[in-house]
Symmetry: C2
Subunit: 219 residues, 2 copies
């Protein structure tokens, strides 16, 4: 019954292919709607063979989210060829561009990861921790000292801030609907924040939060 | 077979009782583990009668999360008898105290709401929007003008920041385990942030974020 020709792939290549197909599918459907049958059909293999590579739907889904997380971390890695002072803004720019280009797999990572599945939750926590550690290390290099706990907490909060702000900003962006004459501007009382404006806002927010937390007089 | 005596309650009182029982149960188990049979047993009614009040587990769960959200919004409502300038800090203090006292139902609201269930997601979005609107209105009253869009976006991000920081702070708090001699301090390199320190940090963060977003020169 298969309509797609079967291809012989090494187990490693097959796993990679199946995960890539899942990542692509996340751009049109939610994580909960990743249907194993559709993935298998797209790969030209049987449902049973897919389960040979991923013992359960849960494990397959986790592999897809893990790939989305690795992809994100790869894109927002600081560029060591830049001067230290410019690395942060460059990483923030890469973050905004990544989320803009991969909105759906990013939402799957952020939101889907919170749904009570411990595996997905772990991927999300690890990803956020890697980003926090990078920023903490960056500040430590810039300042010559490990930031105190309250500043590290503020940096963790800033990552949540950045996630929320970028997703809200994207949700408010005008959609390209040239053939839709009825499309109305979503928010007419203020000019749109452009991409560089969002980058500046996130960058400025981190400095403001770090300064505010560091200035605190409490224990 | 029922071991709990049945009590006659009005439909309204019964619904409230069932939701209250669910809220209590959230302090010992996750939203996914709210078992209908246990709720019905605790209320002294049959499983069938519970489904008379809530047609599905999903609707019951949503009612519980909606009650948790209403409870939170009630607790963090600004106190109109305070001077305007003190209302924000008082609301932030109420937020920190509420999350400290109701950690599990708060986590159910924040995290559980993100798991792909549109009903729970809507409760979460509405709750966050109410808090954002309150803060925006408060700033508008203080400054005499509606904050521009970038400031409103920063306020939305601040709510995400506050959620993350308070949950992280709570997770790092020493647990009261007087009979557990092996309990080790989680983070020995810095003195603990106390409750007033966290309130000051969240309060300061909002002012820092608003000032930083307002000072932006970009469109």
């Amino acid at each position: 019954m298969a309509t797609v020709p079967r291809t012989r792939l090494s187990p490693e290549a097959r796993r990679t292919q199946l995960v890539e197909l899942g990542l692509q599918m996340l751009s049109t459907r939610s994580l909960d709607n990743l249907v194993i049958e559709d993935i298998a059909a797209a790969a030209g293999i049987s449902r049973g063979l897919l389960f040979h590579y991923f013992p359960s739907k849960r494990e397959y889904r986790e592999a897809v989210v893990r790939a989305a997380a690795a992809d994100l971390l790869d894109h927002v890695a600081p560029d060591p060829t830049l001067p230290l002072a410019e690395q942060l803004r460059s990483a923030v720019t890469a973050f905004v561009d990544y989320v803009t280009a991969n909105r759906d797999s990013y939402v799957a990572l952020v939101r889907g990861a919170s749904g009570g599945d411990p595996g997905l939750r772990a991927v999300f926590d690890e990803t956020r921790s890697v980003i926090v550690t990078r920023v903490v290390d960056h500040l430590a290099l810039l300042s010559g000292a490990m930031p105190p706990r309250r500043v590290r907490l503020a940096i963790r909060g800033w990552v949540a801030f950045a996630e929320e702000v970028v997703l809200d900003w994207l949700a408010l962006q005008p959609v390209d609907t040239s053939d839709d004459a009825e499309a109305a501007p979503a928010d007419v009382d203020a000019p749109d924040l452009d991409r560089d404006g969002i980058v500046e806002m996130l960058d400025g927010a981190l400095l403001a939060l770090v300064a505010s937390a560091a200035a605190s007089t409490r224990p």
